[in-house]
Symmetry: C2
Subunit: 218 residues, 2 copies
DNA sequence: TAATATTTTTAGATTAGTCTAAATTTTTAA
DNA sequence: TTAAAAATTTAGACTAATCTAAAAATATTA
């Protein structure tokens, strides 16, 4: 009795709450959902009515315990399906998001559990994002943005902040996919761009923008 | 730009047209879709507007060439996902229909093609129903209803007419799943029930109703 | 603190999909 | 061949989800 649209809003609120400590604002949700503030207000009323969020007019929203569970389950499904699409069907990591966006809404008795088993209980999705377990527990992996490394630091690519196909394809082109090792050689103060050496010995220059969207385990 | 609801109607019309030579009636569609005749009429107008069906008021409908393609593609997706759920995730054949009913609507560039490849290009689904190929061509397999066999005839179970979980579970219980061999020993004129011997030597009595819902290759 | 800017909510419409009840058309059968 | 029955369509209404434009509340800043 929770519609696809409602599920998507809960996930959006969850994602905003991950980054901000305070309640998620109407505008932030509208931006995340690519819709208007008026539509968001309409939906917030419905979600509050169903006790999926705690909503105070003009004050933003937080997920209720139940809303949090729904959002977590949805993210779990989304990421498991992404693993399936990449590992089993051979899609590239920049192609799977829109399909997972649909697959996450498919309902079925123990469908998620069986998918999880079939995939070997993966802890991270193809973008390096953690997959919560059936009880909603998140795996943690210490990682740092490339932009925080110092010359001489070595690291292994573990994830991305930016999930757009353009960025992912650019990383493919650079050979900087999940698991790739690198060493930071130098950071240029002028524009914060960095020079790195890959594990196969290539030297690359990366912009600050790349540095702020690439996670590494040091 | 074809909604889930529209896709489902096209599939319903396809299924009715498979059995009946003449145009599908509003009532037949309403029955197949578990909805009202009024709702069907509303939808028929939309589908005709989009040239997915040929519709003459009070005279029933037929699929247009394009509507036929959409319906065929949908059935292909439904049955491929059913194979996935049974073969890969280990669901029983009576559990997969509702999930496939949702999965068939998931859109993605070459998703079907890759799924088909992953599954090894299956020609039949877990219920023995044929899976059309990417060009919409159907595999054919000669099969007869158990009710048409004569004493002494042997056959292998290849499909079912009734797809309800109750029937499928009953067949499981009898050991009469796809691939099971049997010999018809006797038909009782009184109620058209039959006595059969399974390949592992068990003798069973099956009602006429079972006989009219079980397909065999003789 | 008062004016201004920003954010959020409300008002009023729109669309897809559905429903019930009434009207109309077609089919059946007397 | 007409009357009754059945099938189908139309009329009118409803809900979920969305939108634009206007109103109201909150936040900012002079
Ligand atoms: Mn994704
Ligand atoms: Mn992901
Ligand atoms: Mn099915
Ligand atoms: Mn099937």
């Amino acid at each position: 009795m929770i519609s696809h649209a409602e599920e998507n809003y809960l996930k959006a609120i969850f994602k905003i709450s991950e980054k901000e400590v305070k309640a998620a604002s109407t505008n932030a949700i509208a931006s995340e959902m690519q819709t208007t503030a008026a539509s968001v207000t309409d939906m917030l009323k419905r979600l509050a009515e169903k006790n999926l969020i705690v909503y105070e007019k003009y004050r933003g929203v937080e997920l209720s315990k139940e809303g949090n569970q729904v959002a977590t389950a949805l993210i779990r499904k989304h990421r498991l399906w992404e693993v399936f699409l990449v590992e089993k069907l051979g899609f590239a990591w920049d192609e799977v998001h829109d399909m997972a966006e649909q697959l996450e809404h498919v309902q079925g008795n123990d469908l998620v559990g069986r998918l999880d088993t079939f995939l070997g209980h993966p802890k991270f999705d193809p973008h390096g994002d953690p997959i919560p377990d059936a009880e909603g527990r998140w795996a943690f992996r210490p990682q740092s943005l490339l932009s925080t490394l110092k010359p001489g630091d070595r690291g292994v690519v573990t994830g991305v902040e930016d999930h757009t196909p353009t960025f992912l394809q650019y990383l493919d082109q650079l050979g900087l996919t999940l698991g790739a090792g690198l060493e930071l050689l130098e950071r240029f103060p002028y524009d914060q761009s960095v020079r790195i050496r890959t594990e196969d010995g290539r030297e690359l220059t990366l912009s600050e923008k790349v540095g702020q969207n690439l996670y590494l385990k040091v």
